[in-house]
């Protein structure tokens, strides 16, 4: 008999921004898999009666296969991600892996949504995502940079607010600087920008700046960068985008 796989988004940081359904899915699982940092983030929900299978970052395909196989073999399995597992998370890989199994082996699968980084960062900054926005990743690990930049240009030209995931890491040091320079072709120097690092975790940082003053070195692996649009203003310590929209030029 096949088991069940829950692909769980834990939200940012600790327990405050986790949902009830995410907590229940982790507590109820016989096997919990995930990057070891994410297993640590839900350690308050797990116990000695469960089998924990931590893995390293970069081992995504293996992790998806392990999770699907364990569920196909009959276990109740939780595969945990931070944020939302469907947004730059494990759900795409795990669902594709499950769908490739013969029907008789295929476990039941569900995705349990979580607070994704853009939403967590938006709340800490105020309401920058109040009308129309795009989430883009600056990672070129799974895409040629030209394709990433083409999307940036299209979204910049359309005046959407941008939430930039994976803006910088040790192995990708120049992408955010390039992004700033590309966006500066479309948006004024004083466009409000917010950087949120480690939302909901120890060391949480919220910084407000402008497009011209954006220092790429202030971003790291756990940063989301939000770039305002024409309707975005800085009101004191808040970034707020108006819900109304003017006619196009």
């Amino acid at each position: 008999m096949t088991g069940a796989l829950s692909i769980v988004g834990l939200g940012p940081g600790g327990h405050a921004h986790r949902t009830q359904a995410a907590q229940d899915a982790v507590r109820d699982a016989q096997i919990v898999l995930g990057y070891h940092g994410y297993l640590a983030a839900c350690a308050d929900l797990t116990g000695p009666h469960q089998s924990l299978m931590p893995s390293e970052i970069g081992a995504e395909q293996q992790r998806a296969e392990d999770a699907v196989r364990a569920a196909a073999d009959g276990a109740r399995v939780a595969l945990v991600s931070s944020g939302d597992a469907g947004i730059y998370g494990m759900a795409s890989l795990a669902l594709s892996t499950a769908a490739a199994l013969p029907p008789a082996r295929r476990p039941s699968v569900r995705v349990v949504p979580g607070i994704t980084a853009a939403v967590a960062a938006g709340a800490l900054l105020g309401a920058p995502l109040a009308r129309d926005f795009a989430c883009l990743t600056l990672s070129d690990l799974l895409a040629p940079w030209d394709a990433v930049e083409a999307r940036l240009r299209a979204v910049a030209a359309a005046d959407l607010v941008l939430a930039l995931y994976n803006p910088r890491s040790r192995g990708r040091p120049w992408q955010l600087r390039r992004t700033r320079d590309v966006l500066a072709e479309y948006r004024p120097d004083d466009t409000p920008v917010g950087l949120v690092t480690d939302a909901g975790r120890d060391g949480e940082q919220v910084e407000l700046t402008t497009l011209a003053a954006l220092d790429p070195d202030r971003a790291g692996m756990h940063t989301v960068v939000i770039v305002g649009a024409a309707g975005t203003s800085r009101l004191g310590d808040w970034l707020v985008t108006a819900r109304s929209l003017s006619a196009p030029l």
Copy 2:
């Protein structure tokens, strides 16, 4: 002495997808304001020791002013929205209202994030938002339709997955049909489309179709429509977008 305003996203539907922080903010408030349907959605968190101030849909400016005034007068106030209050919700209006007060009157304000409709719909559909997407509203109550359509065209051309909020209501019957026709200029007929209505509530409905077969009459006020991109496939009952991205043409 000024009080404190929490602008709270309740997520979709009932308690399953609410966060701990959202629950705590509602329980801890002396005054809870919101559209009456949202107050009903958190009725399990409120009690006779609290003052509840339900209001009608469309009364957003008045509601924001009432919430900010109550907090400025010293109360602990929760202003509740479904989904995330920062995304097509009350946070933009409430923060703007608070920022307009003289500094001595200004209450402390925080935004408590919630699971927004696109994320809830994405989880029910599988993983359509796995790489780069835009949230757009089809409402032209606060924008001329030309501006909405210009954004649609830009995002369609950039091959982002689309999450369409407010696709249809009694007063806005034609916008989704027009959107389908616009998107068909950019994307193939067999582009996967998912409609999720009343996510997490009684009567929740999940429908899979294609861009050519999309029937606008299947959408209502509580529907989110997700339109796939080149990387989106239908895998059995799931919509899944690949995390990798090819070079642009």
